[in-house]
Amino acid sequence: MSTRAEFLRRIRAELARTPALFPATPSLRPAHPREVADTIRRELSERWPATLQRFQQEFERVGGVLHRVATVQEVPSVVGRLARERDARDVLTWHPSALGFDPARGLADEKLTCRTMPEAVPDAAARRALRDTIATTPLGLTGVDVALAETGTMILRSGPGRPRSTSLLPATHVAVFDRTALVESLAQVAVLLEAWHADEASGAVINFITGPSRTADIELTLTRGVHGPKDVHAIFVERPLRE
């Protein structure tokens, strides 16, 4: 079995006898990604309606459904309708601190049982029980860190109160966001990624989600919901969530 030193020594030996195929440099990274990210967000906040329109167009193209509401109070009724259409009685949700609002009351009014993810990590037995809950609940309600218009993608970071499988195991995923999540391009996302990874506290996983889970592995017939959600919905809230 090789060691790190031996591996690197062989690579260096090979590189020493190989001139470059052509002169090349990697991409120029922002020196202060956080400041650049803030600037981008500020500029974007002025043209969010156009960005939302583009997001909607691309999101629908990949099979997502966008709902638009004025305030966060209207979110539970949209979720309630989606749940009733699917005979679902239980809803998983991120912790209110991660979601930016507390949907429990409103969901109760819709006659739904709200299973809220804890912010603090419980012991191993409770974690196993929670996993079973997540695996058997038909609908998952999450927030969105970035809604990428160019591709209709929702980007979700894992972390306390925002377990990654809430957007994966339920057959229906509903995600809520406001104008502050909208960005236009992958290039802008790159800056955000640079800023996030400079931040030691960020979670273990970042997921880009572009529509429902899909496959074309049998005779190239497009089929949805092979492992992840079959239905993906986004609820855009006009009044910012954290005002």
Binding site: F7, G159, V226
Partner: protein, 473 residues
């Protein structure tokens, strides 16, 4: 493909594929569809060409300082609580993974699609060690149930009909009355595999990229199995060729912008998952252990070799879809893990030039692959160099070498060449049909079995030229 099948010559494997009517049709439909979708995706994306140049430059820049970026990657993965292993040979890689399996008491491992684990024949080794490997990409799952090998990098089961899949599920999963309906078949696989995801101890993945300065491994899937296997089992093992490292998140975004467009014509695949080590203490889910296995297997030697450029490859499959040879014979006929034009180069990299002495000629050098490649890999150039290498090492049959040497000598001696033409016209008479020679006797027969030769013309060009000059005067 089994050793026994590899023992049959490439010609015979290709011949069999050409006679398989369904395979032929499936290949045409699949590759044509991928091509169309790819064209559309890039058609709507004017910055695509510039980004391809950028991506190519990033790959070359990374290779130029591969030691530096790998060190950075290793340090950052370890800082985030992961473990890194170094595997020079497939045997090293298998042993590393089996050790982890043994230490963690792993009985079942769920896998998301990974060419690197195919390359090291991991499933056989796991089975032998008493660990059940379960492929979870739908296409791979079908192939595994059928005990076959993938035929396309992106669509591993395109050679199977829905009827065959239904029969397979009925037989292997003990389910009566399985209809030949992709929707139903997918639902069955979802239910079967959901159980496995929840039971498995270990998740095994490849890596599409690894970001050096973020210690982050990146997985791209459409089905969500990549997310499942990195979320639910206790242990996550990622196996990755050393060339997959990219310097930064800024570089990663460039590749994400072109990878899915080249592969399936999507703007992005459904799921792109960035994994930064094992579960954090403050998080509810994720594996307790994260292992990254860095695989050499012939790659490092090519940093200074003729196949260096093949190390840029993103495994998108675009060069397969445009290749006239691949489109006719499919993936199985190539006989190794990696099919298609890039597959020939990768096979030579992994198994040595001698392993591709037939395959090196399984290309018309038309250049379509290089045009389609998102990082503009000059595949034809390397194929020619590989052919030269194969010939220099005297790996080509002696008869071919003798004849080619003779022809080369004739071409260098115009007087003799002029004499040879009328002679050839006499000798070719029994073999030429409609201006073509399809079969020659003796050892020439081998060469013409798969090629047609134009017959020597009734009047050669130089004879006609001489005649014209006479008339002109």
């Amino acid at each position: 493909m089994s050793e026994a099948e590899l023992a049959t010559p490439f010609r015979d494997r290709a011949g069999r594929a050409l006679q398989d009517g369904f395979l032929q049709q499936a290949l045409t439909i699949a590759t044509t569809k991928f091509l169309e979708l790819r064209r559309e995706a890039f058609g709507e994306f004017p910055e695509g060409d510039a980004l391809r140049d950028r991506a190519r430059a990033i790959k070359e820049a990374t290779l130029q300082r591969l030691d530096h970026y790998l060190e950075q990657l290793v340090d950052n993965v370890e800082r985030l609580g992961g473990h890194v292993h170094f595997a020079t040979t497939p045997d090293d890689a298998r042993r590393i993974i089996l050790d982890i399996a043994k230490r963690t008491g792993t009985r079942m491992a769920v896998k998301s699609k990974s060419m690197a684990t195919e390359e090291i024949h991991l499933n056989e080794a796991l089975e032998a060690a008493g660990v059940t490997p379960v492929e979870t990409d739908l296409g791979e799952y079908i192939i595994q149930l059928a005990h076959e090998r993938p035929s396309h990098i992106i669509a591993p089961a395109i050679h199977k009909t829905k009827g065959q899949v239904a029969d397979l599920f009925a037989r292997e999963l003990n389910r009566p009355n399985v209809p030949a309906d992709p929707e139903v078949l997918t639902a069955i696989a979802r239910a079967e595999l959901r159980e496995k995801f929840l039971q498995a101890d270990m998740g095994i993945t490849g890596a599409n990229f690894a970001v050096a300065d973020a210690g982050t491994v990146v997985l791209v899937t459409n089905e969500g199995n990549g997310r499942m296997v990195t979320t639910l089992p206790r242990v996550h093992v990622a196996v990755m060729g050393v060339e997959k490292v990219v310097p930064s998140m800024t570089d990663l975004a460039v590749f994400l912008a072109i990878l899915a467009k080249s592969a399936t014509g999507q703007k992005l695949s459904v799921y792109t998952t960035l994994v930064r080590g094992p579960r954090k203490p403050e998080e509810l889910e994720g594996p307790d252990e994260f292992h990254l296995v860095l695989l050499d297997n012939g790659r490092i030697a090519q940093l200074g070799g003729t196949l260096r450029e093949a190390l840029y490859c993103l495994r998108c499959g675009a060069c397969l879809n445009v290749c006239p040879v691949y489109r006719s014979i499919g993936g199985h006929a190539y006989g190794y893990t990696y099919p298609g034009p890039i597959g020939i180069l990768l096979t030579a990299m992994l198994n040595g030039a001698a392993s591709v002495k037939d395959l090196a000629h399984a290309s018309s050098l038309c250049g379509a692959c290089a045009d389609a490649c998102p990082v503009r890999i000059d595949i034809p150039r390397m194929l020619i160099e590989l052919r030269k290498e194969v010939d220099e090492k005297k790996i080509a049959p002696w008869s071919e070498r003798v004849v080619f040497t003779l022809v080369a000598w004739l071409l260098r001696h115009p007087a003799l060449f002029r004499l040879a033409a009328p002679l050839a016209r006499v000798f070719q008479r029994p073999f030429a049909r409609g201006g073509r020679i399809e079969r020659l006797p003796l050892f020439f027969g081998e060469w013409t079995r798969t090629r047609d030769l134009p017959a020597v013309a009734a009047r050669t060009f130089s004879e006609r030229w001489a005649a014209l000059e006479r008339e002109g005067r």
